[in-house]
Amino acid sequence: MWEYTDKVKDHFLNPRNVGVIEDPDGLGEVGSLACGDALKLMFKLDASGHIEDVKFQTFGCASAIASSSALTEMIKGLTLEEAAKITNEDIARYLGDLPKEKMHCSVMGRDALEKAIAYYRGEPDKKVEGEIVCECFGVTDREIERAVRENHLRTIEDVTSYVKAGGGCENCHDRIQEIIDSILGTERPAAKKPAKLSNIQKIKLIEETLEREIKPALQKDGGGIELVDVDGNTVMVRLCGTCSACNASQVTLKNYVETKLQELVTPELVVEEVA
């Protein structure tokens, strides 16, 4: 059970300003069904440039709905300059705080507000800036840097709580740690591979290693390789192109593919060819 404040419960059970504004002045959409939460924020300005009406639609948990509702109450009547100053901390504070694991809900509110303001001003989408670090949740290095700076985050877990990055396959944990380290100004010893791999992480890492390292190398010789299945530590692959007819293919499989996977994924792996 989450320890939600009464204010969070109130905004979840009686959300303010749910709905749609036809032809809004500002429109910001963030999140996705796959990520587990999404927010669509719309506003209309009055003649003097104040937010006259604001509506939202949210798919997500109680804190996502409450954060959206709170945000709409907070920005009603403000000018865009005033609204732009609202941070995710402000949203959490308005609600009397959120559980740490749910802080990403307040960040989602802030992000939607920024997008809606940018939409009004005709500015390009900010989200595409930077490089994607967390592929599971599509989070860029810029977003992580910003969350770390603004919220004084110190651990990967913190980053996951605030912007979700690192909460899926965990392959990006080294990169997130680097970002935290560079901001905190503390260099750490060379990042090591995550100590434990879940089955899903392992399969993902095998796939990535095949795509990134092994396929390009084999392609140079006109060969190819396909991942068929992963079962425990047995990686089943199919060779194609020139590899499938090559007498040295077994050597390639054991000396190159297996060695590479053992080096980059986990030393227990065994590679088997299937027809």
């Binding site: 989450w2 419960k9 979840f12 059970l13 959300p15 749910v18 959409e29 069904l33 796959a34 990520c35 587990g36 939460d37 999404a38 927010l39 669509k40 639609q57 949210t58 798919f59 997500g60 948990c61 109680a62 996502a64 709905i65 694991e101 749910k102 599971c136 949740f137 996951t160 979700k164 909460g167 899926g168 100590a195 434990k196 879940s198 089955n199 899903i200 079962d231 425990g232 530590n233 227990e268």
Partner: protein, 392 residues
């Protein structure tokens, strides 16, 4: 507010008869069962009686029953016992949908020099028996397969698997925590070597579990200490809970298992009416081979935690496969192993009934649930489009 409790796969209420049976051991009958004096020694006899009752529920002999502190301890004991008994064998076969008690231990073992095969399931949550068979080898020390899944209720063909495994001389363990007391179990006919049970899932208290160990199965204790449980589990017995579990097993054998026919009718009614009233909803898992008390329903385009908290407002207690309820960001490993799309897994709700549920409970849920889903969907930015697609 009345509590409508449909989360019995998480835990269940203590049966009043069980509590009555336990009370003397929490008050005046506090003797140590290992004592020489009759004040304690007679408590030992009562534990013996409880052991007989537990054995009777699953078709075991009383001396094949080891009392533990919980289902997880039973699982850990079984897995370590098999590995320690066959130190040269370094391979374990289990499934992708096990309870964390087995899954996380097996994942840990991969870092300690063991190979683990996690057998896959199909979209209906059915086990790939061929894959399991293919991976049995001379190096396999243990196969551990849950009897029924806690999230979906899908039942695995344990007798068939046991036969395959025991043909090869491999130890077979099953986590039957969700099964005992719900469907008939006969360890002799079903051919399992070790089986885990938990007290609090069958109307006994929390803090007591059982490991059945077939006579002749190589064994070593997990908790090393005194001579209790014939040296198979050290530590002074949790007397009151063991007595309670004995009573619960007796009740299960005489009443609860039979009452599952009625419970199943209630479950089926809940499921069919909800599916009829709520569009874009479906059942997760094989509806044929399933525990009679469990249903996992995916409500698309809504998020599970929100549903649970709105149900909570009416005193309805259920659970969810959603990410947000667990603090993790990804939905349950069981639903993901089945390939349930994220969009549906986030909105999956599990109802698990017990003998204490009534028709009124079910009618109450049927009344409250559809408006909750409708309300959350009306808030969702995706619903309008999905609903429009449905019209077409």
């Amino acid at each position: 507010m009345k509590t409508v409790y449909v989360d019995n796969n998480a835990t269940s209420r203590i049966a009043p008869e069980v509590l009555d049976a336990m009370m003397p051991y929490l008050t005046e009958r506090y003797g140590n069962p290992s004592s020489m004096h009759s004040f304690g020694g007679t408590v030992g006899l009562d534990i013996k009686d409880a052991r007989t009752k537990v054995a009777a529920l699953i078709g075991a002999a009383p001396d094949e029953i080891v009392f533990t502190s919980c289902g997880s301890e039973s699982d850990s004991t079984a897995i370590w016992a098999a590995l320690n008994s066959y130190p040269n064998k370094k391979h374990i076969v289990t499934t992708r949908v096990e309870h964390p008690a087995v899954k996380n231990l097996c994942e840990t073992l991969t870092k300690r020099g063991y190979r683990v095969t996690f057998v896959r399931v199909d979209g209906e949550g059915r086990l790939d028996i061929d894959q399991l068979k293919r991976h049995l080898s001379n190096d396999t020390a243990l196969v551990s397969v849950m009897w029924a899944n806690n999230e979906t209720g899908v039942i695995f063909p344990i007798r068939e698997i046991a036969e395959l495994v025991r043909d090869k001389g491999i130890v077979f363990h099953t986590d039957a925590v969700q099964v005992a007391g719900k469907i008939p179990v006969d360890v002799k006919a079903d051919g399992v070597d070790m089986l885990s049970m938990s007290g609090h899932k069958i109307h006994a208290p929390k803090g007591v579990g059982v490991l059945y160990v077939r006579k002749g199965t190589k064994f070593s204790p997990f908790l090393i200490g005194g001579h209790q449980e014939h040296g198979r589990r050290g530590g002074t017995e949790n007397v009151a809970s063991i007595i309670g579990l004995g009573k619960a097993c007796e009740l299960a054998r005489k009443q609860f298992t039979k009452d599952m026919v009625r419970v199943k009718q209630l479950r089926d009614k809940l499921e069919s009416v909800l599916l009829e009233k709520v569009p874009h909803a479906f059942v997760n898992g094989d509806r044929e081979n399933r525990l009679p008390n469990t249903t996992s329903i995916a409500f698309e385009y809504v998020e599970g935690e929100s549903i649970l908290l709105m149900l909570n407002e009416y005193g309805i207690c259920a659970s969810s496969g959603s990410a947000c309820t667990s603090g993790s960001l990804e939905p349950s490993h069981v639903l993901r192993a089945m390939g349930v799309p994220f969009t549906a897994a986030h909105g999956s709700i599990r109802f698990s009934l017990s003998t204490y549920n009534t028709e009124e409970d079910i009618d109450f849920i049927i009344e409250k649930m559809p408006p909750i889903i409708e309300r959350l969907r009306s808030m969702s930015p995706y619903w309008k489009k999905a609903a429009a697609a449905l019209e077409v």
